[in-house]
């Protein structure tokens, strides 16, 4: 039973579907994220598909700094994703607001709105770094699920 569960968890990690939300970035990170989909980096090798509906997504990739206008949207999208889910914040803006930290409309980091699992620093981070961050997140997904199961059994 344990073996099957672990096997199924591994399968889950082999099929991460991605929702990308731009929380008001300068599009620098967006360009790098989209570059990951191109033949040069080809993230489909990992089974990653870019979906449009949060209900289909496992991963939320955010770029840009969330502001007071679209924080509700971000929260909405996050709540619409079925669990298990992880959030990866891309770029300096996602971590803390980046260079726009002091602006009046900037909330200052994604984690002020939704829980973040992986931070990928950079301005913008390279595609390799982004892929690295996503893979780290997948590991967290697997581990978190296993921890959940163990807690249920205890």
């Amino acid at each position: 039973m344990q073996g099957i569960k672990r096997f199924l968890n591994q399968l889950r990690a082999k099929s991460p579907w991605l929702l990308h939300f731009d929380c008001g970035s300068c599009n620098g990170c967006d360009i790098e994220i989209l570059a990951c989909l191109t033949p040069v980096y080809d993230v489909e090798r990992f089974g990653i598909i870019h979906v449009g509906n949060p209900a289909h997504a496992d991963l939320l990739l955010t770029s840009g700094t969330v502001n007071h206008r679209n924080k509700k949207v971000l929260a909405n999208l996050y709540s619409q994703m079925p669990s298990p889910k992880i959030v990866v914040a891309i770029g300096a803006c996602g971590l803390s607001g980046g260079v726009f930290r002091e602006a009046y409309n900037v909330v200052g980091g994604i984690d002020k709105v939704i829980p973040v699992d992986v931070y990928v620093p950079g301005c913008p981070p390279k595609p390799e770094a982004i892929i690295d961050g996503v893979v780290l997140g997948l590991g967290k997904l697997q581990a978190a699920r296993e921890a959940d199961e163990e807690r249920k059994e205890v």
Partner: protein
């Protein structure tokens, strides 16, 4: 007295009696309801008791001491005079002309052409008649039962001062008697009389509400059906001159089948009368106009029974024109109607008009099967006749209930009806499923029809196209009814008991009938496959099978039921699942289907159905299909010459 004669008499005369009682004693609601319920019960019982007695032939020489033929002649003349009266009352030249024409022609037929007394062995009930009697008596009675609460509501809604329900039920019951008479007699003059009875009843019922549009549409129905009547009389005259008899069965098995000119023309004219009665193109406008009538009228006359007179006639006449150009042209015409009706239904958003076009379409398919004139196609025709009558009646009745509740007939207003009227919405969806999906009867007959038509390229191409179109308008409607962000529990729905009494048996009955299709085939249809038709199908391994096709009805029904149960369990589990808002780009508010729009205002996300008006709209297509129908009719009549 012979039980069969007694039952035939009851089936034809009892409704007339019930009608008179309604007219006389019907002012009181309870008495009226009792009379209708009693008449219905008597009809259902008689039909069921009659079933094992079939087939039989009886003589009917006299009625209450008078020569029956004279009685019918007199009644016929009286009927035509009544129609003439209505023509004068409304100053409608066409009706006056057609009624006068029919009077003249009938007089000519009766007094100058017919030499010697007509044979008295004129009651003929074979399995096709029995099928029709069962439909008329059972489905017809159920519709009348539902009409009781419906008309109460109807008159309440329209603030009718003095109830006209006695008159309404008088005509409804009269109609049932007339229909039974039509199918139980063999003599063309009798059939003509009852044909005219149904025309008059249709006129009276369409115009029941006495509004301008109702009267106008009733007059249109009257004159178009009178065209059919005139064609019928002409056909009778030619038939008599060609063969010297007016008894249908004799008429069809005699040596003149080789096709003397006037014989085929007679059949063609009778077919024309049939086409008019079944509202085929270009005569469809009367049926569309008839949709303004109260819904029980639409259910009874204009979907399950009166319009079936046309196909019944064609089925009777089919052995007569087997193998002729007439047969082929009827097949092509029927297929054309099937396609055109389906196309026009796609462009409609008025629920009753969708049902009307669908009826025309299915009747066209039955005509096509009749024209193809093989054992398999005739089987398909009769099965479709039976199943369509039941399912369409159910659909009309549920649309009637819906229409009274939401006060609209438009499909767009029925969006999300499940939240308001869950049980009725589900019954309607069940009706839609029974119309288009296997293993149910309508699809079974369509499958049979397609297999039978496969050799005939004109017909099969049109049927294939029409069949695809039917999926669109039915699926669209079923989805719209259920289109509601459902976040609550099932609300119990309140309807009068008689409504459930009508809808429930029809729904369950249709399903059971579908499962019982093999036995329906064996008991009622296979015995009809005599003479020029050989047996079409064998009942093997739970399904109907022949040399080139097989439909495993029982196994499929079992598996489908299993699938439905699994899906239902999933549905129950889904109630415990997380219910979320539909995807609205992340800007949804808490309310169902609302999103945050400009200036942070909540806006409702709306989408309407595709009606493709520019392609399939009534305005766009009607002239073309009328032209097409007209051309094909000319082909039929000309080809028969």
């Amino acid at each position: 007295m012979d039980i069969r004669a007694l039952l035939t008499a009851i089936l034809v005369v009892a409704p007339f009696g019930g009608a008179l009682l309604c007219a006389v004693l019907g002012a009181n609601k309870t008495t009226r309801s009792a009379i209708v319920l009693a008449t219905g019960a008597v009809l259902i019982a008689s039909a069921l008791i009659l079933a094992p007695q079939v087939p039989f032939r009886l003589s009917a020489a006299s009625f209450l001491g008078m020569d029956l033929h004279r009685v019918i002649q007199a009644a016929d003349a009286a009927l035509l005079l009544i129609i003439l009266y209505f023509g004068f009352k409304h100053q409608h030249l066409t009706i006056i002309a057609l009624a006068a024409l029919q009077l003249v022609l009938t007089a000519y037929l009766e007094f100058f052409l017919i030499k010697g007394p007509l044979p008295v062995e004129r009651i003929f009930c074979d399995h096709l008649s029995l099928l029709m009697v069962l439909i008329i008596s059972i489905v017809g009675s159920i519709i009348c039962f539902q009409a009781i609460p419906y008309m109460e509501n109807h008159e309440h809604h329209y603030h009718v001062a003095k109830s006209r329900q006695p008159r309404f039920f008088f005509v409804m019951l009269l109609f049932l008697g007339g229909m039974n008479g039509l199918v139980l007699f063999d003599d063309l003059t009798f059939i003509y009389f009852f044909f005219e009875v149904t025309t008059l009843c249709s006129f009276l019922l369409i115009g029941h509400d006495r509004t301008t549009i109702a009267t106008r549409n009733a007059l249109r129905a009257l004159w178009m059906n009178s065209v059919g009547g005139a064609a019928f009389v002409l056909g009778m005259i030619l038939a008599y001159t060609a063969t010297g008899t007016l008894g249908l069965q004799k008429f069809l098995v005699a040596p003149w089948l080789a096709g003397a000119g006037t014989y085929l023309l007679a059949l063609a004219l009778l077919c024309l009368a049939a086409f008019v009665k079944s509202a085929q193109f270009p005569f469809q406008s009367w049926l569309l106009g008839a949709m303004v009538a109260p819904t029980p009228v639409s259910a009874l006359l204009h979907s399950s029974t009166m319009v079936k007179v046309g196909v019944y006639l064609a089925l009777r006449l089919a052995p007569g024109f087997m193998g002729t150009l007439l047969s082929q042209s009827v097949a092509v015409f029927g297929a054309f109607s099937f396609l055109a009706g389906a196309a026009l239904a796609v462009g409609q958003s008025n629920g009753k008009k969708v049902l009307a076009y669908s009826t025309i379409s299915n009747l066209g398919l039955i005509f096509a099967c009749t024209g193809l004139n093989t054992a398999a196609s005739m089987t398909a025709a009769m099965l479709l006749l039976a199943f369509h009558a039941v399912v369409k009646a159910m659909l009309f009745l549920s649309v009637g209930a819906i229409e009274q509740h939401i006060e609209s007939r438009d499909i767009e207003d029925m969006r999300g009806l499940y939240a308001v009227m869950p049980l009725t919405a589900l019954i309607t969806v069940a009706g839609v499923i029974m119309m288009i999906m296997p293993p149910f009867g309508v699809l079974l007959s369509k499958w049979m029809a397609m297999e039978a038509a496969a050799q005939n390229l004109y017909v099969i191409v049109m049927i294939a196209l029409g069949s695809a179109l039917t999926v669109i308008y039915w699926a669209r409607w079923a989805g719209t009814l259920m289109s509601d962000p459902f976040a609550g529990r099932f609300q119990p729905e309140h309807q009068p008991a008689l409504t459930w009494l009508a809808l429930g048996p029809l729904c369950i009955g249709a399903a059971l009938l579908s499962v019982g299709a093999p036995w329906l085939y064996l008991r009622l249809i296979a015995p009809m496959m005599t003479g020029p038709y050989s047996a079409a199908y064998a009942f093997t391994a739970g399904g109907l099978e022949n040399a080139y096709g097989t439909f495993a009805i029982l196994p499929l029904s079992a598996v489908a039921a299993l699938g439905a149960i699994v899906a239902a369990i999933a549905l129950k589990r889904a109630f415990r699942a997380k219910i979320v808002s539909p995807y609205l780009s992340g800007i949804q508010t808490g309310e169902p289907s609302m999103f945050r729009g400009p200036m942070n205002q909540a806006v409702k996300a709306e989408a309407k159905n595709y009606y493709l008006d520019t392609i399939f709209g009534e305005a766009r297509l009607t002239d073309w299909v009328n032209l097409g129908g007209g051309i094909l009719l000319t082909l039929i009549l000309g080809g028969a010459l």
